[in-house]
Amino acid sequence: MSNGSDTAHESLHPNRLGQWRSLDELAGTPEFEALLQREFPERAAEWLDPVGRRAFLQLMGASLALAGLTSCSSPPSHTIVPYAKAPEDLVPGKPLFYATAFAQGGIGTGLLVESHMGRPTKIEGNPQHPASLGATDAFAQASILSLYDPDRSQTVTNGGQITTWKAFVAALTSRLAGSSGAGLCILTETVTSPTLAWQIRQLMAKYPQATWVQYDAISRDAVRQGSRLAFGEVINTVYRVERAEVVVTLGAEFLAAGPGHVRYARDFFARRRVEAAPLNRLYAVDSTPTLTGAMADHRVTVRQQDMEAIAWAFAGALGVPEAAAISASMPQAAWVAAAARDLKAHQGASLVVPGDEQPPIVHALAHAINRALGNVGQTVIYTDPIEADPADQMASLTALVANMRAGQVQTLLILGSNPVYTAPADLRFAEALDKVPFRVHLSLEADETSARCQWHLPEAHYLEAWGDVRAYDGTTTIQQPLIAPLYDGHSAHELLAVLQGDGPQDGYDIMRAYWQTRLSGEFERAWRTALHDGVVGGTALPPKTPGWKPSFAPAAQPAQVFEIIFRPDPTIWDGRFANNGWLQELPKPLTKLTWDNAALFSPATAERLGLQNEDVIELALGGHSVQAPVWILPGHPPDSVTVHLGYGRTRAGRAGSGIGFNAYLLRKSTALWSAGGVEIKKTGRALQLASTQHHQTMQGRNPVRVGTVEELKKDPHVIAEMGEAPAKDETLYPPVTNEGYRWGMAIDLGACLGCGACVAACQAENNSPVVGKEQVLLGREMHWIRVDRYYAGGPDAPETLHQPLLCQQCENAPCEPVCPVGATVHSQEGLNDMVYNRCVGTRYCSNNCPYKVRHFNFLQYSSDQPTLRLLNNPNVTVRSRGVMEKCTYCVQRINAARIRSKEDGQPIKDGEVVTACQGACPSQAIAFGNLNDPVSKVSKWQASARNYGLLAELNTRPRTTYLARLRNPNPELEKA
């Protein structure tokens, strides 16, 4: 997607469109009516009518069943409302793109957000942003749904009573009048925002005795402590994955989560294509299954408590002085030795990556190993920390709780985070909080913490507010709003401005005030460029070489106990996305579970404990206990259980409350990521879990083909010969030719991480509904693209294979001849069109689809919730009850490109049409384009020796083909 607007940076700035203040006003304004009238002509009334709002998941929507898709046009029935004074830069019916950034754990990824008539509808990555390069992850894709979440808090409340922002400002200022800040504490999440840090520093100056505490449930304390152990200071580590030929991960999920993972995935898989020989080689040591480990050429699973020993073993084998005395004796010794030899062979071009959740010592050892391998400066770049204040968050939070309990905290401002829910159980944060007389909580939802605070302030979503954030390498992006706050929300900046009293109060002015002096060159130009590009030039942190001040030594081997491992949930993270239907229904990459978390066991352990899938067990640890359903996960280390944080929310909203179990209740401030001695009791009950895939093996039909580099070198046909595809001319029918464009797609299974960004992107682009757990249990999920996950090999050390499956756009589509009304037929460009308004819903096409990529609106799934309608992509029909739907290669984008190309008389260039899934894919595993163009990327991919058609033996002649997964094993280990 190209940045569609060059001059449209701030057309939405309140000062330019003064009337766009709050939703209530907005709803009255002609501009907004116009906007609604255009997109939802006959539904505007419902918008203005509050009782018209329905439940988030309306499953029995007979009301809309007969509306929506009908058969013919009707005479003029409704009015059309133009602007009174049209805004600049806005061509009715044309989308605009604005650059901004999405932050997670305080670390940003650059975005381009598509906006239709003032409604942000779709998120793309920002090609100019180093952490994105055009791609995104599932969280960023789905974050736009949170903007329109009908359960977002909409008013300022005091003690549950609706009041106003003004009233709050009055209360706060009167309270702090003349105070020195004694007893004032500001609790934020990790802050990388330069402006916010600047504001806080100013506050500290004004209120010298005030305190500032940062707390992220998914904190990177261990990383920071690790670098203190190694360097005596906090250092930010940036990997240059594209330079690494051998990578060893120590429990690291660095390709699928954490700072810069989108960029890392792209760089890593750029070295996994046969073209890009020599391939890199990945060794993974997992203490719980990770997507990164699933991509490894060699993977071992160890119990978390043995991870340190493994790290020492590597250190010893690689001549790290601190580890001179180490002689590895664990079962994985041989494996470690082999991997170590491989690392040694690639000094300066190798990389050891510790997981964020690993203990400090592992991080310290990783630093030592990279140093010993001479990787520093090559594949490992050290910079100053990106955090504004790289404090030990858990320590400061513990201190804060102590102060609160001691009654020393008088005024507590909680910005964004949800500590009542996320704070480790042993801190008993909630009851300490009650001791604070004046408690303020600024958040998107009226959540668990809001319920414990007198004052709750609706927070402005990042797409509604001004802000700035730094990326994994320090690059700063100024976040600009796409729409005026829907619900009178305010940003943290604006709240702090209130404390500051004097000075700018408005987010926009605050931003400009901070950057005024900090942008190089003439300010207005620089400001516009920064907004337009989505990056502030020259803010990437320069490399530095920290002094080596090691302060660590081998510890005694811990006693072998049954351990529990905590991890952020793969789709709802620390719980902040609990009310996000897209992420709830996005199958967790490895378990394929939706709408629930589970206690994950290895098959062997489950068998030993006599546990089945869906058994409900009681997990007890340190006096706390939770009841959790069991899910057996091949490749999980033995004698340990993994639980995902983020579920069991009580005040998340209609979608997110009361599902799953709250793993935070077992979490201790001293053992954030794993703990020993968990007790497991069976309850005899069972809980149905909504998994989207029930069969994990390939049943001897290899839908996913795998080959090693060696095999492919020996015989280029090895992949093709794994199946039998009939030749093109083996037919009695006259050949069908597509002049002009012949659209096709190829998916590189060697590069597919299985992260699910494509699924979220597709859902956002194509108005796919959320159906809810009950419907998923019935097998009625609506994702046009799904990521199948198969296991090969033994259950304890399996090979995990991912395969994105979308409509294969078969040339001999089995779905087409069976449709009685011709609702699915071929287009002149060879697309397998699906005509929703013609579909009568016999479901014959789906029965006859060998890939089962068609999805049916069994009930009225598409929501008629007014805010959610604003999210709809106006270029894609919203499907009603009784209609079949499926992937169309984002035909709306193809049509837009075709019209564009005809208007400027240029043929569509390769890469001009980017499907939603392709655009989002961090690892660039999808190629799409014109197969009639021999030099197009997709043509090249389909010409590759790894290319094969799924189920081609059925002679369906799929337009979507796959490139076989490529392994680059270490011969030494392959023999074993």
Binding site: Q19, T29, P30, E33, A34, R38, P41, G68, L69, T70, C72, S73, S74, P75, P76, S77, H78, T79, I80, V81, P82, Y83, A84, K85, A86, V91, P92, G93, K94, G740, V825, H826, S827, Q828, E829, L831, D833, V835, Y836, N837, R838, N875, V876, T877, V878, T888, V891, Q892, N895, I899, K902, E903
Partner: protein, 216 residues
Amino acid sequence: MTQLFHRSTNTLARVTLFGAVFLVAGIGWGVSALLTSPYASGVGVPVEQPVPFSHKHHVADVGLDCRYCHTSVERSSFAGIPPTKTCMNCHAQLFTDAPMLEPVRASYRTGKPIPWARVHTLADFVYFDHSIHVKQGIGCSTCHGRVDQMALIWRVNTLFMEWCLECHRHPERFVRPRSEVFNMAWEPPADQAVVGAKLVTEYKIQTQTSCSICHR
């Protein structure tokens, strides 16, 4: 045995049976007539507007070009409805106190737009793009008729799918030189068959009858 029926029932019986055929046919005809009538299609039914705006006056008499008000017709799928500002460009000077124009002035004062009644509308699942049609030499009047002769606007075409298909199958019958697109008075020349065919090749117009061209 006594006769159950009178002699006449024989004729009656046959007439009924025979008539039934025509009855069924008649009903079928009636239904299809209704479905294609102006009642269903809105063809030829002038639409009342909040302001008695006359295209006839503004186009024929004043000589405004379509694009003066429908600004985005060449750039966007949506032709564009002029903001009140556009009206005021002239009416700030002309007929400044004409009572007829009070709603317009009011709108400009208050910023409340004029709720025009929509004349040409398509179902939600039909995706029509003005810009490409205009670009490919399909004139305004081809679909909207002689707007310059309508005081109030009405539909001159049904906008039924079969109507769209006519042109998508045989563009040569309707295409005109790009220069003539906004010419209300343009009439197909006698040799349209020849000219049209030439234009079709010149403008690289394809017959687009794939479903996904209009439905997605």
